[in-house]
């Protein structure tokens, strides 16, 4: 069974204090790993897709990396507006009913204090 585990569950940072969020996964045949950001009362907002080990993607203060077993979301010099829940999800490389299905982790609640 596909499993996605995110750590830590919650992370509190001071503004400017860089850190990383972890997403460990077990899936037979990874098609893609997705990172989403979710603000309270809103739907998840897409950030990145990573397809193969060694791939990296960046967006403003965020950089996502991928290995064969885990992904990291690095936050450089975070600001209070980066506070949100960050979700990762995996997608299987299987045709048929499971194709396209995203299995989500529980998320990391990030709080950045001024």
């Amino acid at each position: 069974e596909d499993q996605v585990t995110q750590s830590p569950e919650a992370l509190r940072l001071q503004e400017g204090e860089s850190s990383s969020l972890n997403c460990s996964y077990t899936v037979s045949g990874l098609r893609g790993l997705f990172w989403y950001r979710q603000d309270p009362g809103k739907g998840p907002e897409f950030l990145f897709t990573l397809y193969s080990a060694g791939e990296e993607k960046e967006k403003e203060r965020l950089k996502a990396t991928l290995t064969k077993k885990e992904s990291f979301l690095h936050i450089t010099a975070p600001k209070p507006e980066d506070s949100a829940t960050y979700l990762c999800a995996v997608q299987k490389a299987v045709r048929g009913t499971s194709y396209g299905k995203l299995t989500f982790g529980q998320g990391t609640i990030l709080t950045v204090h001024p």
């Binding site: 739907g43 009913t97 396209g100």
Partner: protein
């Protein structure tokens, strides 16, 4: 500004009543997902449609839940009868798939359901 639209945003209902949630996917997207989010379980997939055909509804309690796509611009999720344990936020998401290609899923704002 293309977005997934869900209605209603909030719904409070009594146990035993029927609840219908609606979703308008992004124009041109051919896949639609229904997810349920709770504090305990996180985001769980309930149903998945491609080109309006249901492909995976294994996460959905079949005795009370049903999902349909009457046309390409409307997806519905119905609960009958509703129970307090159905209280959650229900998200609809849409994306585009074709052969080996697929895009990320774009989520709506969700319907917050409270069953009392």
């Amino acid at each position: 500004d293309a977005r997934v639209t869900q209605t209603p945003r909030h719904k409070v209902t009594e146990m035993g009543q029927e609840v219908t949630m609606r979703c308008q996917p992004i124009l041109g997207h051919n896949t639609v997902f229904w997810y349920r989010q709770t504090m305990m379980q996180g985001l769980e997939l309930l149903a998945y449609f491609r080109n309006r055909a249901p492909l995976d509804d294994s996460g959905m309690p079949k005795d009370r839940f049903s999902a349909e796509m009457p046309d390409a611009t409307l997806a519905t999720l119905k609960i009958q009868p509703s129970e307090p344990r159905d209280s959650a936020v229900y998200f609809c998401a849409s994306g585009s798939t074709g052969g080996e290609e697929n895009t990320e899923a774009f989520f709506g704002q969700g319907t917050r359901l409270t069953v009392v």
